[in-house]
């Protein structure tokens, strides 16, 4: 008879576990991953390839939060969740560039505790800087799993 009561108690505890979680344990951050690519002619006349920002400062247009980095190979920038155009001012190699990214945000409801995660599909990207040859879309999908999305090709 006691065994039956144990089973009943276990069932009640198990059913109580059906309540939804009140804290969020899921990764929600998604950022567009940007790399740099440039060919440089050395003094010896060889073509040297480099792919990093020695020093870079970035501020999103519409935000007052600046980010700085040195020796940056891959830069992760969040896209605006509420509009389809995100622009970042970038200061590197002593010049200012404005990087424009056109994208389609899509909200995915995760849970009440987590809210919505926002994923994006990049539709176009361009730069205002004449040093930039092109901005290439490597992978248009911006999700929580980091992957290279854009590559900025520089003239040198």
């Amino acid at each position: 008879m006691q065994t039956k009561w144990y089973i009943l108690i276990c069932l009640i505890i198990g059913l109580a576990a059906c309540e939804p979680e009140t804290t969020c344990h899921q990764e929600l951050d998604s950022a567009v991953q940007i790399t740099l690519s440039a060919d440089s002619i050395t003094s010896a006349g060889d073509t040297a390839y480099y792919a990093q920002w020695d020093s870079v400062t970035v501020v999103g247009i519409g935000s007052d939060i600046g980010m700085q980095g040195k020796g940056v190979k891959v830069m992760g920038l969040e896209l605006r969740p509420d509009t389809s155009l995100t622009a970042y001012l970038m200061l590197y190699h002593n010049q200012i560039d404005t990087l424009y990214i056109q994208h389609t945000p899509r909200q995915q409801f995760i849970s009440m505790a987590c809210g919505c995660a926002v994923y994006h599909t990049i539709t176009a990207a361009w730069s205002s800087d004449p040093r930039v040859d092109s901005v290439s879309i490597i992978n248009a999908s911006v999700e929580t799993v980091a992957q290279d999305n854009l590559c900025i090709y520089l003239h040198e």
């Binding site: 069932l11 109580a16 939804p20 951050d29 605006r80 509420d82 899509r106 409801f109 009440m112 505790a113």
Partner: protein, 214 residues
């Protein structure tokens, strides 16, 4: 005359015996109507009255141990967390079959295992939902007048006992597996699904019901 009476009596007895034997072996052996109490009370108690779920079921007994079952219900939920709120209501149904695993005889008392396929359609609003963005700041979104169909599968186990004449009672433990886990473009998945519970890929459920067998 006496011989004729004896023959008629013997024929009647033979017919009665045959009819009784037919009743034991007939494919169709009655229909039960069930009204759930356990889940309704549990949902009300757990949610402090914010979730109401009502359901009823019909099953028929076939060939002593098979119970094709149809369940239907309606649920209303108003539940929030972290400032966000889900408010929705909709109907659900489940179709499946139970199998009596212990007793194969004429007894109405049985342990049952079975499978169900469930579906629910609901209208819901999700309001003040947090939109996560570490850099651009937190925003709140509202999604009004959303509609969605969800479906799931269940493995059920339970029992039913006859308590008085046609009256029965019993319970089910349900293991539920949600099939519809993705949202279409622009769609926001609900927080609560009628007949399933809070949206999780895997969920448990419980029913305690009263029934009448016709």
């Amino acid at each position: 005359m006496n011989r004729l009476l004896l023959i008629v009596t013997l024929c009647c007895l033979a017919l009665c015996a045959s009819a009784r034997e037919y009743a034991d072996t007939a494919v169709y052996q009655g229909l039960s109507v069930k009204l759930d109490i356990g889940n309704s009370v549990l949902e009300l108690a757990r949610s402090a009255g914010k979730i109401q779920s009502y359901e009823a079921a019909i099953n028929v007994r076939l060939a002593k141990r098979f119970y094709p079952t149809l369940e239907a219900g309606y649920a209303m939920a108003e539940r929030g967390a972290d400032g966000g709120m889900h408010k929705g209501q909709g109907g659900f149904g489940r179709l499946g079959m139970d199998l009596a695993v212990v007793k194969k005889g004429a007894s109405e008392n049985n342990m049952l295992v079975g499978l169900r396929f469930g579906g629910a359609y609901q209208n819901y609003d999700l309001t003040n939902v947090k939109l996560h963005s570490e850099y651009w700041g937190e925003q709140r979104l509202n999604f009004y007048d959303q509609q969605r169909f969800d479906c799931w599968g269940e493995i059920v186990a339970g029992c039913q006992v006859q308590v008085y004449k046609g009256f029965q009672m019993g319970w089910y433990i349900r293991m539920k597996l949600l099939f519809t886990r993705n949202a279409k473009e622009g769609e926001v998945m609900p927080y609560y699904i009628p007949g399933l519970g809070f949206r999780k890929d895997f969920q448990w459920g419980f029913n305690y019901y009263l029934a009448y067998k016709f």
